[in-house]
């Protein structure tokens, strides 16, 4: 059954090609069937392949399928080949399942959009690129998927291309991620030069054998890979593009900017764990990036007016948690949190999509309100998603994964107290902003009328995702609840298990740490209820007070990164481009031409036409030469 591995990415690719070729002749229904159908089939294939992988793991817990050698140059022979192991199984399953649900959702959500076929063309290309990224057996093919998803995110953000602002956001996303990609490709060159190959497994083996731990080349390689991850997963300092990416349709935000693409960075680090094991400083850097991002994004999410921007900042914050987990060598915790986060964040975005569509495109949460009764299904599913985001204890999957991550920040050798405190603070803020959305959007008096009711193709995915947001948590129960952690055993086949060897390891594993989180979450929920339901006016007044308003504005703008980058990078390039647009070197060339013309003018003036001046010139010539003769 594993031989069907190549079918998983091939199906969306076939869908993409079909949609491109039959573009004109395909009606909406045809496009929907091919678009969603190809991803659905890919999901089935994925379920079959991953199922047989889980049920009867192949030798060495991994299987590699090579289609053809991509190129063979001076010993560098990357292949178009796919490699399936525990990590990629998780990612493939998430991508195909969430992907199919979102495709189904989109068939209805985008019904009235005239670029319907074009939308599914780009979506299929995206799913293909993402699957290639996670299944690639060598870093060059991974990079192909990596840039493919970057392209599709640009195309889909700028999908409604009539409005230049959307196109600008699309461009911004592509360019900022490309900055990150430059670091990644530099890493590729370093690895290729030092280790001779880019095929992941042999590369990692060679690295472990030839590189001494904490040697400069190992640290540099790891940092470059981190640079790539930071770009794609919208971590500090390259996170400014994700909030603007909300200009795209909601399914796009759900699929690309919540579930799959933004976690590509996490996948990359998880895939190349041995490199990070060799480089201690790099792991510290990863942890720092994680903690800083989760705090900044958390506080920004707290003050957003736009529903989708709030969710975007929340995504950045949650990915910060995953990166933090990887940073403290809690590799499997990061993967687990990715799995849970994909479901509830997709759910929240799809819910937001329905809400916005229902209120005829209204994004500002303070203009919504009182939707609980009008859109009951959305209210329930959205609340489940928000709860999972806030890590409502025992019930939601978010609790189990976030608890695990927070405890690893304390328990592992790399963990330390400051990281723990930071993650706790982050958890508290997450709870605040997630339930803030629930209270403000679904409670209080209604401001705008509901015009459209979602039909089954939009609500069914919401319910499925809600169910997943609950049950996927039970795959890895913490030690103090029970010994049931099939996901951990499964991931151990590919990733090094978590070693609880830190100073407070005992406390971190115990129920005590979990209790602290439970307290934080309940406190957060209660506080948010108070702030945004009974004391709503008070909170508004407080937010508008002269002391708090500048701070709120600062957080609203994403801690001023945009402002900084505009001045430091964008303006100088624009100025130089404008200044040098007539090509500086051309002035030199025209200067030479001018000199020739000046020469012509003077000499032709010399041609006076008078005979005596001719004789004089001749005479002068002779006298000059004779003078030289006589004087030498």
């Amino acid at each position: 059954m594993l031989s069907l591995l190549w079918l998983i990415p091939a199906l969306p690719a076939a869908g993409f090609v079909l949609l491109v070729l039959l573009n004109r002749r395909l009606g909406r229904a045809g496009a929907a069937w091919i678009g969603a159908g190809s991803v659905g089939l890919s999901m089935l294939a994925a379920l079959l392949v991953c199922g047989s992988f889980i049920v009867s793991p192949p030798a060495g817990d991994a299987c590699r399928q090579v289609l053809w050698t991509w190129m063979d140059v001076a010993g560098f022979t990357p292949a178009i080949g796919f490699y399936l192991d525990a990590v990629s199984v998780v990612w493939v399953l998430v991508i195909t399942v969430v992907g199919f649900l979102i495709h189904l959702y989109s068939t209805e959500h985008m019904e009235h959009d005239e670029g319907f076929t074009r939308f599914f063309t780009y979506l299929n290309l995206f799913v293909f690129s993402m699957l290639v990224l996670v299944l690639a057996d060598n870093l060059l093919l991974l990079y192909l998927g990596w840039e493919g998803v970057g392209l599709c995110s640009y195309l889909l953000i700028a999908f409604w291309q009539k409005d230049p602002q959307n196109v600008y956001s699309g461009r911004k996303a592509f360019i900022v991620t490309r900055v990150g990609d430059t670091a990644l490709i530099a890493g590729l060159f370093l690895l290729l030069t030092q280790l001779g190959t880019l095929e992941i497994q042999p590369l990692l083996r060679a690295a472990e054998q030839t590189w001494a731990p904490d040697s400069t080349v190992a640290v540099v390689a790891a940092l470059l890979i981190l640079g790539g991850a930071v770009g794609k997963s919208a971590q500090v300092p390259l996170q400014t593009w994700l909030p603007d990416a909300m200009a795209g349709p909601s399914p796009v935000s759900a699929l690309i900017h919540a579930a799959t693409m933004v976690t590509a960075g996490v996948y990359l680090i998880a895939r190349t764990t041995p490199l990070f094991e060799l480089a201690g400083d790099a792991r510290l850097a990863v942890a720092l990036v994680g903690i800083v991002t989760l705090l900044i994004a958390g506080f920004s999410a707290l003050v957003q007016h736009d529903l989708k921007r709030a969710l975007a900042y929340s995504t950045i914050s949650q990915i910060g948690y995953m990166i933090l987990a990887l940073g403290v060598s809690g590799w499997e915790a990061g993967v687990f949190h990715f799995g849970t986060h994909a479901f509830f964040k997709a759910l929240l975005f799809l819910g937001a999509g329905v809400v916005i569509e229902a209120l005829a495109g209204e994004h500002d949460i303070f203009k919504m309100g009182g939707l609980a009764r009008k859109l009951p299904a959305v209210f329930v599913t959205f609340t489940v998603g928000a709860a999972a985001l806030a890590a409502l204890p025992f019930v939601t999957n978010g609790f189990y994964s976030k608890d695990l991550v927070i405890s690893t920040t304390l328990g592992t050798a790399d963990g330390n107290v400051w990281l723990y405190v930071g993650s706790i603070l982050g958890a508290f803020v997450t709870t605040l902003y997630s339930f803030r959305l629930v209270w403000v959007v679904f409670f209080g008096e209604a401001h705008t009328e509901v015009t459209r009711r979602p039909r089954w193709r939009q609500t069914m995915p919401l319910w499925v995702l809600a169910v997943f947001s609950i049950i996927t948590g039970f795959l890895w129960l913490p030690a103090w609840i029970g010994a049931f952690h099939p996901l951990e055993d499964f991931l151990d086949t590919a990733l090094p298990p978590i070693e609880w060897t830190g100073r407070y390891a005992h406390f971190a594993e115990s129920a005590g740490a979990a209790f602290v989180i439970i307290l934080i979450v309940y406190g957060g929920i209660f506080l948010s209820y108070l702030l945004w339901v009974p004391w709503r006016r008070g909170t508004h007044a407080f937010a508008a007070s002269p002391v708090v308003r500048p701070l709120a504005a600062f957080w609203l703008g994403g801690w001023g990164f945009d402002w900084l980058y505009e001045r430091v990078f964008v303006r100088p390039v624009k100025w130089f481009a404008h200044w040098a647009r007539h090509d500086l070197v051309d002035y030199v060339v025209d200067g030479i031409a001018w000199v020739n013309l000046a020469g012509w003018r003077t000499l032709s003036a010399g041609q006076t036409g008078r005979l005596r001046s001719y004789v004089a010139v001749a005479g002068f010539g002779v006298v000059l030469v004779l003078a030289v003769v006589v004087l030498r």
Binding site: A616, G619, F620, V622, V623, L626, A627, V629, V630
Partner: protein
């Protein structure tokens, strides 16, 4: 004999200076004749009597006659061109002075006395019809060319050309007439 050389040289130089500076054309030409006679004497002192004679006969005799005829033909009288301020002479004088200085300096580095043997007409004629026989023929062709050129330039324009025939010539060009039809003499301006 050397004294005679220096006197003749002085006369020649003075006469040439006067040729160049005189306003009146005829005076200038006459001074030129004097200068030529002086040069003829110098030739004699240098032991080249044949050439001295030739100088007088051909140069002074023939060429100067040409000049006088030309002046007469163009009946210039003494119509001297507008008085050129003497300052016009400064530029050329400086230029030529430097040229002269260079040559004289070069010549005065060391001097060799002349052989002194007189080379008479016989020696010249032997050389003339010995190795230089071809040159004589060429000289004759030179004079022929000058003859043809001078007659062509000075002669009137083609007798049978009139203004009318010029028009006819242009008509020919546009394919209405034939080229060989004769025309009438074109009256040039007064001689």
């Amino acid at each position: 004999m050397t004294i005679l050389f220096y006197i003749a040289a002085a006369v020649a130089v003075l006469a040439t200076l006067l040729v160049v500076t005189r306003r009146n054309l005829v005076h200038a030409l006459l001074y030129l004749v004097v200068s030529l006679f002086a040069v003829a004497v110098v030739f004699y002192t240098l032991g080249a009597p044949f050439v001295a004679a030739l100088e007088v006969i051909v140069y002074a005799g023939a060429i100067m006659m040409l000049f006088v005829f030309a002046v007469m033909l163009l009946n210039l009288q003494a119509a001297s061109p507008p008085r050129v301020p003497w300052t016009a002479w400064v530029g050329p004088a400086v230029l030529v002075g430097v040229l002269l200085a260079e040559v004289i300096y070069a010549l005065t580095i060391e001097t060799q006395p002349l052989a002194g043997a007189e080379v008479g007409a016989t020696a010249v004629s032997e050389a003339l019809y010995g190795p230089y026989v071809l040159a004589v023929e060429l000289a004759s062709m030179l004079l022929l060319a000058a003859l043809v050129a001078a007659t062509h330039v000075a002669a009137r324009a083609r007798e049978d050309q009139t203004a009318a025939s010029v028009e006819r010539g242009r008509a020919v060009l546009h394919g209405q007439g034939t080229a060989s039809e004769p025309g009438v003499i074109v009256e040039e301006g007064d001689a």
